[in-house]
């Protein structure tokens, strides 16, 4: 119970910081809508279902990268990480709290982005939306973990996409499959398995990421 209270306090802190600084969510919203507008005018009218689904996932991944890249900025700027890692609480609570906050930003961006996508391209099926929701969990779990690794380096803006995008390929495969396949169940199952596997790995390994 104490663990989840720590997670709640850390996630609440991130939401409060965003509410006041408005550094991340407006940028994510502008980026994802602008991406759809650019795709709308640069692609031929009525792209295939597969092509339209592909560009949805390009937009989702790069919007998520924008949020993930900023996730640890407050900790980096004031070196607050030092204060957090010395705390006697389980260090994985830092990862889980940050992942939940990043998930909230990503979902908020998608609440606007998905209707815009449907307006410009094609309506989304229930399976596609479920695929996006499952993918968000994996994106935030893996991305937050890698963000904590990247933030300690000088080339963090470069390192995060370099590490994250290869690990996000299964998410794209599952997400596109869930959106276009006639029987999306196995793709949704694949995304669920990815989430579970990587969440456990990130949760267990975060302790070693924040140690010097």
């Amino acid at each position: 119970m104490t663990y989840f209270r720590d997670v709640g306090a850390l996630a609440r802190k991130d939401l409060l910081l965003e509410l006041r600084a408005r550094d991340t969510l407006p940028a994510m919203l502008l980026f994802v809508v602008a991406t759809f507008v650019v795709f709308h005018f640069s692609l031929p009218a009525h792209p295939s279902k597969l092509a339209a689904s592909g560009l949805l996932w390009v937009a989702i991944l790069f919007t998520a990268l924008l949020g993930l890249g900023r996730a640890f900025v407050p900790e980096r700027e004031q070196r607050v990480f030092d204060g957090l890692v010395l705390a006697p609480c389980d260090r994985s609570a830092i990862w889980l709290g940050k992942s939940l906050a990043t998930l909230a930003f990503l979902v908020a961006a998608q609440v606007v982005a998905l209707p815009v996508y449907a307006l410009f391209f094609r309506p989304l099926s229930g399976a596609a939306v479920l695929g996006v929701a499952l993918a968000d969990l994996g994106i935030c779990a893996v991305g937050t973990f890698l963000g904590a690794m990247a933030v300690a380096t000088r080339a963090r803006e470069l390192l995060l996409p370099l590490m994250f995008l290869p690990l996000a390929i299964p998410i794209v495969v599952g997400g596109v499959g869930a959106g276009v396949a006639d029987s999306p169940g196995r793709y949704l199952g694949f995304l669920g398995l990815y989430d579970l596997l990587f969440a456990v790995i990130c949760w267990a390994a975060f302790e070693y990421v924040v140690a010097e």
Binding site: R5, D6, A9, L10, K13, L16, L17, R20, A21, P74, E77, Q78, R79, V80, D82, G83, L84, V85, L86, A87, P88, C89, A211, E212
Partner: protein, 195 residues
């Protein structure tokens, strides 16, 4: 409380600390001096558990939650208020009766009236006072203080002097400073590092 044997630290090719032996008993007050680049901050980060030595060993007689670390940065969120920052730390550091303790520290360091203001609006001196509140919040056994007097005005320095004097003997101190005269009457030993 702290025992270091043949401690060394390298950052790539650059050697920052070399074969340093250190013994700090419980209740001791060790002052670390030395010019810029001598390795004071590196030594303090290793002693606090925030960095690992590349050579030698260090033994700490306390768990990480019993360390109070004051670095060059205040380790607080600029967009949160003083109260919100301390409440977060009180939660994470398992401070019993956190609200009372926070109120007492904010009063003592003259921040009670500005507790609802964001840290971004504070002067450097006020931020340093808040950082000291954060360090003392969980009543740590080992206090690792890197230039605690920096940015403090005369009144702030007097407050810190009084706090250190009160805790002297009860807690263990490792303090780095360019101005050892401030803590001359408190110190139990001095370690002078050379660049």
């Amino acid at each position: 409380m702290l025992t270091a044997r043949r401690l060394g630290k390298r950052y790539g090719e650059k050697r920052v600390l070399r074969r340093l032996d250190l013994e700090l008993p419980r209740g001791g007050f060790l002052v670390v001096t030395g010019p810029n680049g001598a390795g004071k901050t590196t030594l303090l980060r290793i002693c606090a558990g925030l960095a690992q030595p590349t050579e030698g060993t260090i033994e700490r007689g306390v768990s990480r939650g019993q360390v109070g670390y004051l670095g060059h940065e205040p380790l607080v969120y600029r967009e949160l208020t003083a109260l919100e920052n301390l409440e977060l730390y009180a939660r994470l550091y398992r401070v019993a009766e956190g609200r009372e303790r926070i109120g007492m520290l904010l009063e003592r360091f003259g921040l009670w009236d500005v507790r609802h203001e964001r840290v971004a609006s504070y002067s450097r001196g006020m931020t340093q006072r808040l950082a000291l509140c954060r360090v003392l919040l969980h009543e740590p056994e080992l206090l690792v203080l890197d230039e605690p007097y920096s940015a403090l005005d005369e009144a702030g320095a007097e407050l810190l002097d009084a706090q250190l004097a009160e805790l002297r003997g009860e807690r263990t101190f490792l303090l780095a400073t360019h101005d050892p005269a401030h803590v001359e009457s408190l110190q139990s030993g001095r370690l002078a590092l050379v660049a």
